[in-house]
């Protein structure tokens, strides 16, 4: 994850729900995305009660949970992938899961598996300091989320506690594809980068190659989630096998990267 802490690279960080289509499929998709040249992957751990996620990611969580896939199995898959691939992986998961597994215990398992950082959307600035220390001691990064509704004072505090990068939510609202990004987004990102001096990656609502290019004109990277998850689920629903899903995911992601500096 070091390259994200030093500015200069701009890239795409696709979001992928772990276990969607089975863990073997996830592992194969990760390999495909590494070949396409993504900066990192945000790997979502399914949760029964997500609050920040829209219908697409929610239903992907439901699909995986109904199959009875557990955190341990996801981490085992990551460890297998890690044996011959160095693509940075950020685990996105609810604090409910982290707490239940035990913060230190989960961190140890994540480190052993080869996870590079954690994104915990429901860990507010108020609750984060202790966890942030533990994450940092474990050698992982903890990018924290800034919302368009965050005050300037909070932006500074969140940026100061974040490691790796600052995750800026393009919109107030839940994850999901949107036709248009807010007009003030680029200015907001510029300001956040300038005032905090930290790399800023933008997520929420980003759905097209044009969105990615626009966001990356100012930000250090873009996260695209629901649009990818939807393609995977559509390919599944159309009866596509692992091969077809992996191909659909890689094609979609390389399409979104058109125009980004190699």
């Amino acid at each position: 994850m070091k390259e994200l802490t030093t500015r200069g690279t701009k890239g795409l960080l696709p979001y992928l729900t772990a276990g969607l289509g089975g863990l073997e499929t996830t592992e194969r998709i990760l390999q495909g995305l590494a070949e396409v040249g993504v900066t990192a992957v945000e790997l979502g751990f399914p949760y029964s009660d997500p609050i920040a996620d829209g219908p697409t990611i929610q239903s992907s969580f439901t699909r995986v949970l109904e199959k009875g896939i557990h955190v341990r199995e996801i981490l085992d898959m990551v460890a297998r992938f890690r044996r011959n691939n160095q693509l940075p992986l950020l685990a996105m998961l609810s604090y409910s899961i982290v707490y239940r597994l035990g913060v230190d215990c989960f961190l140890q398992q994540a480190v052993d598996a080869g996870i590079d950082g954690l994104i915990i959307p429901d860990l507010s600035l108020e609750e984060a300091p202790q966890v942030a220390r533990q994450v940092s001691e474990a050698g992982l990064v903890l990018p924290m989320l800034v919302s368009p509704a965050s005050t300037p004072e909070r932006r500074q505090k969140i940026a100061a506690l974040s490691t790796g990068f600052v995750y800026y939510m393009s919109v107030t609202g839940i994850t999901g594809e949107r036709n248009q990004l807010p007009p003030e987004l680029i200015n907001n990102v510029r300001q956040l980068r300038q005032t905090t001096g930290r790399p800023v990656i933008v997520g929420f609502g980003i759905s097209t190659a044009e969105h990615v290019r626009r966001v990356c004109s100012e930000a250090d990277g873009a996260i695209i989630g629901s649009a990818l998850v939807r393609r995977i689920m559509e390919t599944q629903d159309a009866g596509g096998d692992t091969e077809a899903i992996v191909k659909a995911a890689a094609e979609a992601v390389s399409g979104w990267m058109v125009g980004l500096p190699a």
């Binding site: 949760y47 029964s48 009660d49 997500p50 609050i51 920040a52 996620d53 829209g54 219908p55 929610q58 239903s59 439901t62 949970l65 557990h70 955190v71 609810s94 604090y95 409910s96 899961i97 982290v98 707490y99 239940r100 597994l101 959307p121 429901d122 860990l123 507010s124 600035l125 108020e126 609750e127 924290m144 989320l145 800034v146 919302s147 509704a149 965050s150 005050t151 909070r154 969140i158 939510m169 919109v171 107030t172 609202g173 839940i174």
Partner: protein, 405 residues
């Protein structure tokens, strides 16, 4: 009606913690609205005019104070303790929920927010929110699990009649917890102009404190009425616990009175040793759900477990954080009764006192029916009869094999 100010010296602490429990586990997008609510409530809490206005509505619109009624036939039949009912079922809209929704609607108005949203299980909180919205001329949307929409058709119709849009929630188990998720998601995108009227003493700080304070009128009145009618405090106060708002409201003013035993009754569903119950304090463990750290029913991965109760209002896999703190400190004790015990109490109170209780409140009645016979005749028990049972009649008739709906 008491005009007594809310005691500021009590918990939670400045971090929103009741001992270990509580806190604010929500996405950053909601934190701004939560800080705004904290600030506005701090001002309102210290503002005599705010309480005066709220108390005016509670008196003239809700019909407070609600009576404290001696259930003579029930007491005599059981042959032990003297049983009193705090008649929250007589409030406008038929439950204690209106105490909170009027308070929160006033807060929303102070914050300049003209749209309110809510979750509902049995529909009582939804109806109470819809009522407050109609009365204050606000836009209102209520999220309700699709399964609960089916179980509580009458309340859905009432909300719609009051001008509220009811949105059925099809995700997860299609019950209360899923309705809360959906309301939170709405709020994620609407925080600037919308207030989320949480219906119980749960969620991120400051909600557990605000809802408790608005419901504490129940306990304050109970204290005064016990003094008037009995010249003393009760020996025991019993209330059902789902999220825990009616229990917190009646317990809170007695917290500093060690002689008053406080008993919360959870839903044991088909039994606490089966997979089908909602007894969070009995069978759960501390974890995070819906923005708070509290007892929860989760699997080993932190995924919320399915819960069951015959009562849609108790069908919740978490509990208010202050109850978790009272459980650990031993200040309140928590027990549970099964679906069939609650149904028997539903019928018994109807037959013996001419009062049809809500299925939720029937859980508290059922526990008292179990323990009262062994208690001395000078022992005084107050049950918070938190709601009336009209809404449950179709469901109960079905369970008794009589189809009326």
């Amino acid at each position: 009606m008491t005009s007594e100010k809310v005691d500021l010296s009590q918990s939670p602490d400045t971090h929103g913690r009741f001992g270990l429990y509580g806190g604010q586990y929500v996405p950053e997008t909601l934190m701004e609205a939560i800080h705004q609510l904290e600030a506005e409530y701090a001002k309102a809490r210290a503002d005599g005019a705010f309480w005066e206005e709220l108390n005016g509505y509670l008196k003239d619109y809700v019909g407070r104070p609600s009576p404290l009624y001696y259930a003579r036939r029930l007491s005599e039949k059981l042959g032990g303790a003297r049983i009193y009912l705090k008649r929250e079922d007589l409030n406008h809209t038929g439950a204690h929920k209106i105490n909170n929704t009027l308070g929160q609607a006033l807060l929303a108005r102070r914050m300049g927010k003209n749209r309110i949203i809510a979750e509902t299980g049995a529909g009582q909180h939804g109806v109470a929110t819809a009522t407050a919205a109609a009365m204050f001329g606000m836009e209102c949307v209520v999220y309700m699990g699709a399964e609960d929409v089916r179980r509580q058709k009458l309340n859905v119709f009432r909300m719609e009649l009051l001008g509220t849009r009811v949105v059925p929630v099809h995700s997860g188990q299609k019950t209360l917890k899923d309705a809360i998720n959906e309301a939170m998601r709405d709020w994620m995108g609407s925080v600037q102009h919308t207030h989320y009227v949480i219906g119980s003493v749960m969620g991120p700080h400051p909600f557990p404190m605000i809802v408790r304070d608005f419901q504490a009128v129940v306990g304050r009145e109970t204290r005064e009425q016990c003094q008037e009618q009995l010249s003393r405090l009760p020996d025991m106060v019993v209330a059902c616990v789902g999220g825990g708002s009616n229990a917190a409201g009646i317990f809170y003013p007695f917290i500093g009175e060690p002689s008053v035993k406080l008993v919360g009754v959870e839903a044991a569903g088909e039994g606490v040793d089966t997979q089908r119950h909602a007894a969070t304090l009995a069978k759960g463990q501390p974890g995070v759900l819906h923005g708070m750290f509290t007892y929860v029913l989760q699997d080993d991965d932190g995924q919320t477990l399915p819960v069951h109760s015959v009562s849609a209002g108790l069908d919740y896999p978490g509990v208010g954080p202050e109850h978790s703190s009272w459980k650990d400190s031993g200040r309140a004790e928590y027990t549970s009764v099964t679906d069939s015990e609650a149904l028997a109490a539903f019928t018994a109170l109807s037959e013996m006192e001419g009062i049809i209780p809500a299925l939720e409140s029937a859980h508290a009645v059922a526990h008292v029916i179990k323990i009262a016979p062994a208690l001395p005749k000078d022992c005084v028990i107050v049950i918070n009869l938190s709601g009336r049972g009209d809404k449950d009649c179709v469901e109960v008739a079905g369970l008794l094999g009589k189809h009326i709906g």
